[in-house]
Amino acid sequence: MTVRVEIRGSEFDPWVELSRYQETLGNQGKYGATAVFIGTMRDFNEGVRVKSLVLEHYPGMTEKHLTEISQQAIDRWGLLDTMVIHRVGEIRINEPIVAVAVWSAHRAAAFEACRFLVEDLKSHAPFWKREYLAEGIRWVEKTTPG
């Protein structure tokens, strides 16, 4: 069982990360279901064109929180392995912001646990987005509903 949590200050390729991480897993032949969510920077938010995004976080608490909820998901759904990678710093359009993945024996657990991790991360992990617009900068006030 492996929990991977990583905060990244520069662009990452989620598919490469998933591929490499999966090769290291000790549960070969045990997982039948992998569910993945990738959140990507859009060029539009709440009706306004966005040029870029700067993500601030609470170093230490982000890792701690993400590790705790990964462990909770493992216990609750009997997962085999999990991965959470989250960007911080300046993010440009079309760059991945977050990648969440879970490996499980069966698909119901995989889908539910992946969704749980994404929703918890969005509502509790200490990250804050600031959007750079054509006219100024704004803090994102709340997470979009799940």
């Binding site: 993500l55 701690k64 989250h86 509502s123 509790h124 804050w128 987005k129 709340k142």
Partner: protein
């Protein structure tokens, strides 16, 4: 005793501060930590609190060496 106080994101910007260390005489609550640093307003309704990187309430006890953080609603993911 010493307590580290942190502010993040828009709250940090509005208060014009991000981190400081206070030296209270004895144990106190999160609310009292806030009052020691931000004299002129109570803890805002929508501000989130963490003590030692775990979510906490305004009446939680704070001890020597603790880190207390205040921040606006989170918007990651």
């Amino acid at each position: 005793m010493a307590v580290t106080v942190k502010f993040f994101a828009s709250l940090s910007e509005r208060l014009g501060r991000s981190e400081e260390v206070i030296k209270p005489k004895g144990p106190l609550t999160v609310r009292e930590v806030w009052a020691a640093v931000v004299a002129d307003e109570p803890v805002p309704e929508n501000v989130l609190i963490a003590v030692n990187m775990e979510y906490a309430r305004p009446d939680a006890e704070v001890s020597d060496g603790d880190e207390v953080a205040f921040f606006p609603p989170v918007t990651g993911g």
